[in-house]
Amino acid sequence: MKTIANGTDVVVNKITASTLKVKLLEMGIMEGKQLKVLFRAPFGDPIAVDVGGYILSLRKDEAELIEVEQIPSVV
């Protein structure tokens, strides 16, 4: 997810196994969940993500654990 552009809607495909996975789950990020990449801090890190109505800031190496797929925008 760390390479996804700001303002993109994505859906979570998979979360890489890691000690942080359970924390990500508890913050509401699980497979199939829709997220929106909102904005980034200067230097591109951390990243602010909309998780079902609240804003979560993730460091780049935390975002890296989340595999996402872009949702094609509805025209």
Binding site: T19, L20, K21, V22, K23, L24, L25, E26, M27, G28, M30, E31, L38, F39, A41, P42, F43, D45, P46, A48, V51, G52, G53, Y54, I55, L56, S57, L58, R59, E62
Partner: protein
């Protein structure tokens, strides 16, 4: 009955606690961790009950050391804090994530009350929910709506407490019992809970995503790569201006009030050791505690406002990347910046850092930032050894040196942080995963409670240590071995008569000669060989020992030793005396090298017992303050020595 107040962070849990208990709350410790335990008294069914505020957590399973307390106490029925009932605050505008924690607690089979908060926000966000749907989902929970931020719902919550439902083994997750000890089990459990919650919420919640909210518009500016930092810098400037402008008035008042209290007490009490202890040891010691209150109160007033509005998390967001290579965290910025006013609130503000290692590093380096107590020492020494000249056409040399000392504090703090990053080992992997709450206007009640709580913690917990050390320092300065001090006094009085000194001059001479023969005087003389390589004599030695109480005491001690009146701001007689001071061989003591060396010493040395007392309070052990005292002492000695060698 004991009632535990639980909930996710940023749900308005603090507002609910303050709403229910008002001023009837007190702060204590949870065993083993650094989080404060707030206990408040509430009344219902004509009986008194205890409401215990637990730290905000996202899950029953702890992910940081401060979250452990929830799991520890709630999974141990024998624990003395094990509650008879739990109240969980749930953010109605973010049900999905909040219900994960609620469902975990629900399955503990304790009588449970759900307090739905932020119900006003759900109206604004056009996100509606159906309370009866929630009641069906958790049939054994009592559910109440409250908007604690606007102080409504107290009666409803107490009503819910008094009519709590008994549990009859209704689980949210069927036959899935809590306390999975392995991570995989916890992952699986979280996913199962979320699946059930999401399915249920489809019936309960209508999701109409708002257009562009107030929050995201503001965030375009506040985390902007240029404006974001500019705005943060401006806010800091304003805060410090306020602190310097407004803290000085009550501080002068406290100073004066304790001085008059002390002289009034000595005038009505019979002469003797007990009176001296009271008027010269205990009362000034209490004054030394009270003098910090204005700065602590003002700093936490501003920090609480920034936190309440949600802006603080944006500061963390834009500073995290910059601080991380140093072993620090975006959350270290506020403690370090506060330390420029005073390290005490700075160390106390480090509590928001959940990562243990990053928090320890922040606490350890905070006192290196140049605090306001160093200013009197710096200005005195600069006036003595730095010429008042203009260099490079526009820069005042004295101002430049003062700026250099501030820069030295900042650079050394960051450098030491970098070293500590390699030394301190930790098992936990640091993470940020910070919730950025939406912008709200601050609740003044909460701001006031925060200020009150921080002042109380400082006065009760750190104050005891400060009072003890100041009494010890007073005793060391007032007493000496045998009758040498009395002889010194007689000698001084004889000299005064011979030199035809005025009454005040003669009492200054007496004070000076008595101090020289006191235990502190002896200590100052006996450390002379150690501090001689730094360019200091025994007079400076004495002042170094006395100023362990607080840095600014250095100026007053020097005034006593040089037998001049401490006339406050200008110190002209002292500056003149110190400029004229000579060694036995006739060379001046306060050369550029010695003066600069002394300034560097004060930039680094942990000359503040109050900070040490607070570090002890915040880390719950003497280990960290002693390490801090040690490393800063070594840094000060080496820094001062090198400065002296280079300049002489």
């Amino acid at each position: 009955m004991k009632i535990a107040l639980l909930g996710n962070p940023n749900t308005g849990k603090t507002s609910v606690f303050n709403l229910l208990t008002g001023l009837r709350q007190h702060v204590g410790n949870f065993p083993g961790i650094t989080v404060d335990k707030k206990v408040g008294k509430i009344e219902f069914n004509d009986e008194k009950h205890e409401l215990i505020d637990f730290p905000g957590t996202y899950s029953f399973y702890p992910r940081s050391s401060d979250e452990k307390v929830v799991h520890e106490i709630l999974s141990d029925k024998g624990n003395e804090l094990y509650p008879d009932m739990v109240a969980v605050v749930v953010d109605a505008s973010n049900l999905e994530r909040n219900l994960l924690f609620f469902s975990q607690i629900y399955d503990l089979q304790l009588p449970i009350v759900m307090i739905l908060s932020m119900t006003d926000l759900t109206l604004k966000n056009e996100k509606q929910y159906d309370v009866n749907g929630l009641r069906k989902l958790f049939p054994e929970a009592t559910i109440v709506e409250s908007n604690a931020r606007v102080r409504t719902g107290k009666a409803r919550i107490l009503e819910a407490f008094s009519h709590f439902k008994k549990r009859s083994s209704n689980y949210f997750l069927d036959d899935k019992i809590l306390a999975e000890s392995d991570i995989e089990g916890q992952e699986e459990e979280a996913e199962m809970r979320f699946r059930k919650i999401i399915r249920a919420l489809k019936q309960i919640e209508s999701t109409q995503e708002p257009e562009v909210s107030f929050t995201s518009k503001l965030d375009k500016i506040l985390v902007h790569p240029i404006f974001g930092y500019l705005i943060f810098a401006t806010i800091l400037m304003v805060v410090f201006q306020f602190i310097y402008a407004f803290a000085a008035i009550p501080m002068d008042f406290i100073d004066g009030a304790f001085a008059s209290l002390s002289s009034w007490t000595s005038s009505i009490m019979p002469e003797g050791i007990f009176t001296d202890l009271l008027t010269q040891g205990i009362i000034p010691g209490l004054g030394g505690i009270a003098i910090f209150i204005p700065q602590i109160a003002l700093l936490f007033f501003f920090i609480a406002i920034l936190e309440e509005t949600g802006y603080l998390s944006r500061v963390v967001f834009i500073m995290d990347r910059i601080m991380r290579p140093l072993g620090l965290n975006g959350k270290s910025v506020v403690p370090l910046m506060s330390s420029v006013a005073c390290a005490i609130p700075g160390v106390m503000a480090a509590r928001t850092i959940s990562d243990w290692k990053e928090r320890m590093i922040t606490i350890m380096v905070a006192p290196l930032m140049s605090c306001s107590a160093r200013i009197p020492v710096y200005t005195l020494l600069i006036a003595i050894v730095i010429p008042n000249e203009i260099v490079g056409g526009v820069m005042n040399l004295q101002g430049l040196v003062l700026f250099g000392l501030y820069a030295l504090g900042l650079v050394s703090a960051l450098f030491v942080a970098l070293i500590l990053k390699w030394i301190i080992k930790t098992k936990e992997k640091g993470f940020l995963m910070l919730e950025m709450p939406s912008y709200k206007s601050p609740r003044w009640g909460n701001v006031g409670m925060t200020v009150l709580e921080k002042v109380k913690i400082f006065v009760w917990d750190a104050g005891r240590v400060i009072l003890a050390i100041s009494v010890i320092l007073w005793a060391l300065a007032t007493y000496g071995p045998g009758n040498r001090m009395d002889q010194a006094e007689k000698l001084a009085k004889k000299q005064a008569i011979k030199q035809e000194l005025s009454e005040s001059e003669s009492s200054q001479l007496v004070a000076s000669m008595r101090l020289e023969k006191s235990y502190i005087g002896i200590m100052g003389k006996s450390i002379e060989p150690v501090i001689e390589p730094l360019g200091y004599d025994w007079k400076i030695g004495i002042s170094l020992i006395t100023s362990f109480a607080a840095r600014e005491v250095f100026v007053g001690s020097m005034a006593t030793i040089y037998a001049v009146g401490d006339d406050g701001a200008e110190n002209l007689p002292l500056i003149t005396k110190m400029k004229q001071a000579k060694r036995p061989d006739g060379t001046p003591i306060y050369t550029l090298a010695a003066g600069a060396s002394l300034m560097v010493f004060f930039a680094f040395a942990m000359q503040c017992m109050s900070t040490l007392a607070v570090v002890k309070r915040e880390t719950r052990s003497w280990k960290w303050p002693l390490i801090q005292l040690g490393y800063m002492g070594v840094l000060a000695y080496l820094g001062a020595w090198i400065t002296f060698l280079i300049l002489s």
